[in-house]
Symmetry: C2
Subunit: 340 residues, 2 copies
């Protein structure tokens, strides 16, 4: 890289002190008109730009927000990031995005680096591995250092900080209820392993809706997917239990279920209704298009960043951790029967 022009070089070239240059560039009244003009002209001509690092070090703030998400090639998470970026941008902040890849180690490492003064605050969605192991020392360190932190979607109760979550319980309830209302009786649920709390909440909503109708929860209709195995093969057996509906906790599971149904020539939604989760492109463009719970990732991102910046900029106020619950709603499409 070329030798950058700094305040020092300008000062030397023009035979003034660095303080004069600094003041002149800020149009301070302390400096005479001629000197200002001379300095500004020089700075302009040589395309002087103040060094960000120096400013951040001096001001003890970076106007930077660290974001750690499990993955990015994923409609929900990329939408969240977009929301965060938009919210941050409005308030003059920029974002630094890192990925944990669902790995605990990478999450810890990212957290360490970002919390070394690189950012003013952090927004993170916890990796599956961490969720499973519940080893959260890295978060507790953060909290005890009082570095502003907001947890998003994938949260853990044990961590005391602001949180933004989907009303997963309500969403599971809504989805199941809709299936029941359109005449379905044996509803299978394709969900995640129990440690992924979002999956668990959705399943509890599902169970509540069933119990309200005095339908007992049939364990044979509950499929917990292990993502390391072939997903389709794990779903397939549940079709042998005389089901008339499937509630999938994400759109991939929903799409795979529909594939299986087609292979078996089961008509959708006449013989089998399907509800997915996450309002991504698949659901919109699949045939039949898939009825889903829309998650409002954009809103979540914006809320998270708003809470975070609020925390960053009002350090003095004593603060209490709050949880923002974003309600999600059902987007009716072709994979379920019209409600009567």
């Amino acid at each position: 890289m070329k030798q950058k022009v700094t305040i020092k070089t300008i000062a030397k070239e023009l035979g003034v002190s660095t303080s004069t240059v600094s003041k002149a560039l800020k149009d301070s009244h302390e400096i005479s008109k001629e000197t200002k003009e001379k300095i500004q002209a020089y700075a302009n001509h040589y395309n002087y730009k103040p060094n960000n690092l120096a400013l951040q070090l001096r001001n003890q703030k970076t106007k930077l927000i660290g974001v750690i998400v499990p993955k990015i090639v994923h409609h929900f998470f990329s939408t969240i990031i977009k929301g965060i970026e938009e919210g941050a941008s409005e308030k003059g902040y920029r974002i630094m995005v890192c990925f944990s890849d669902e790995s605990h180690t990478k999450e810890v490492e990212n957290l360490k680096v970002l919390s070394n003064g690189s950012v003013d605050g952090l927004i993170v969605s916890i990796a599956n591995e961490t969720l499973e192991s519940k080893s959260i020392k890295h978060f507790q360190d953060l909290v005890s250092e009082e570095i502003p932190l907001v947890l998003l979607d994938r949260v853990l109760d044990e961590i005391t900080c602001d949180k933004v979550v989907v009303d997963d319980f309500g969403a599971g309830y809504k989805a199941t209820k809709h299936l029941l209302n359109t005449g379905c009786k044996r509803i299978a649920i394709i969900t995640t392993p129990e440690y992924v709390n979002v999956g668990t909440h959705r399943r509890q909503g599902y169970e509540k809706a069933l119990l309200e109708r005095k339908i007992t929860v049939d364990k044979k209709l509950i499929v917990e997917i292990d993502e390391k195995q072939n997903i389709k093969e794990q779903i397939r057996p549940v079709f042998d239990n005389g089901i008339d509906a499937i509630f999938a906790v994400n759109e991939i599971y929903a799409a795979k279920s529909i594939r299986i149904a087609k292979e078996k020539s089961i008509r959708i939604p006449e013989e089998l209704s399907v509800v997915g989760f996450t309002d991504g492109l698949i659901s919109e463009y699949a045939t039949p298009s898939i009825t889903t719970i829309a998650q409002h990732g954009l809103t979540m991102g914006k809320q998270a960043v708003e809470a975070l910046i609020n925390r960053i900029e009002n350090e003095s106020e004593k603060y209490e951790a709050k949880t923002i619950v974003i309600s999600s709603d059902l987007k009716l499409r072709e994979s379920t029967k019209p409600s009567s």
Copy 2:
């Protein structure tokens, strides 16, 4: 935020100088065993972490790569970002992601901020607005400051720097040729306005394939989509021209085309073959699944970051701008007829 423990505070508490602390923490031989142990114990206990900003300022490098892409809720771009992150991560770099939202103004602003010493180099995919207006002063400034820059996918010849692009021409050719080989005769192309050079190249490939078969290019079969208007309505009229195949330059256009075909009860691929671009989730999960040109975003991201880091770390070598062309290949699925 809590008062951070710095080298200074340690020095003061322990009655030594900052230099001693710094050396002790690096396990320097200059410091006696007892002093080292004392300092390290203290640092450990109070969870001392060196301040990144200070280090970056001192070392004159940030180990940070700036990434500017037009959007993120997009399979291709998010895949690229993943590729960049993986490649960067391997070499000990982190990434700072910004979005231009296809806006020239935002692109300029992002470029300005990032090039103020915040990052060691930049990878950018140019915004549509910039592509259209060709106002590239911000890039030229970057180049003249010799800040390492790699352009990705959306490039402009006028900018002298390393580039990583898809073989769009070859891809368009391959796609069209495949349609011709499977018996299609009247092939429509759904493309972008002319200023988006990737669209143009794909179209030129399309035209070459046709001309090879002595088929004259029929302008009525070329649809240039204006994304500000309703896409489906812009595609619909082309169905009245007796077509038997559609080559869409992205998967949204392909999916919309298939929708229209279904509404008109046109069977795919028997009556209409469809080829898309970008191997996203839609193509995989749609029914019928869509034959596409797979773009290898991951590879592109990795190549870009490799070129960039190479440039960053070998400043001395005189360097010549090179362009890396990533060839893309056809992924056969259900929306085209089996080739004979």
